[in-house]
Amino acid sequence: LAKTTQPISMDSYEGQEVNITCSHNNIATNDYITWYQQFPSQGPRFIIQGYKTKVTNEVASLFIPADRKSSTLSLPRVSLSDTAVYYCLVGDWGSGNTGKLIFGQGTTLQVKP
């Protein structure tokens, strides 16, 4: 399973776009990149998953360059409620694989008014 590196913390203000970059230099060919959000006293919540290029959903966008050695989670116009810990994970969870998730320390995003 590829190791990931993220900034420990980030600060932002309401209404700004936030970009959190994750490094995963040893990503394997079959690995997907997945981001989770965790609020205090809650289980992690799935945000977005991608393999290459760009993925967008109603919550965020995920940018993955051609070499796939990094990825950037983009949160448009954050609000105070986006204050949370964001985890980047890399792995191959397709059928027949172990499905294990190895969590790094995550990025604590603090959104200020």
């Binding site: 997945t34 992690p44 919540r45 998953q49 969870w93 397709g94 027949g96 499905g99 998730l101 320390q105």
Partner: protein, 116 residues
């Protein structure tokens, strides 16, 4: 997405006792996992709960301390045995169904355990 419930949501226990945590999913899933999150820390995988067979434990976790059952495709239990204050953590179950298009893993709300 799968809806996951855990019981109890929290508990305060005395050292030396044991607590069994239940994880119930609203649909059949192929894989279930148990994680521990110590205060202020990230999540650590304890084991993979295998349906109808013994769980697969990660390094540093043993069956005698964390016995796990998974009698069917929607239910699993984790027991924290002979507890000590160091076992105070949030325990989370998660599920994965590789049959879905995104192979997404979903987490339960967690069980907050305090050992006195």
């Amino acid at each position: 997405s799968a809806v996951i419930s855990q019981k109890p949501s929290r508990d305060i226990c005395q050292r030396g006792t044991s607590l069994t945590i239940q994880c119930q999913v609203d649909s059949q899933v192929t894989m279930m996992f148990w994680y521990r999150q110590q205060p202020g820390q990230s999540l650590t995988l304890i084991a993979t709960a295998n349906q109808g067979s013994e769980a697969t434990y990660e390094s540093g976790f043993v069956i005698d301390k964390f016995p796990i059952s998974r009698p069917n495709l929607t239910f699993s239990t984790l027991t924290v045995s002979n507890m000590s204050p160091e076992d105070s953590s949030i325990y989370l179950c998660s599920v994965l169904n590789p049959l879905t298009s995104t192979d997404t893993q979903y987490f339960g709300p967690g069980t907050r355990l305090t050992v006195l």
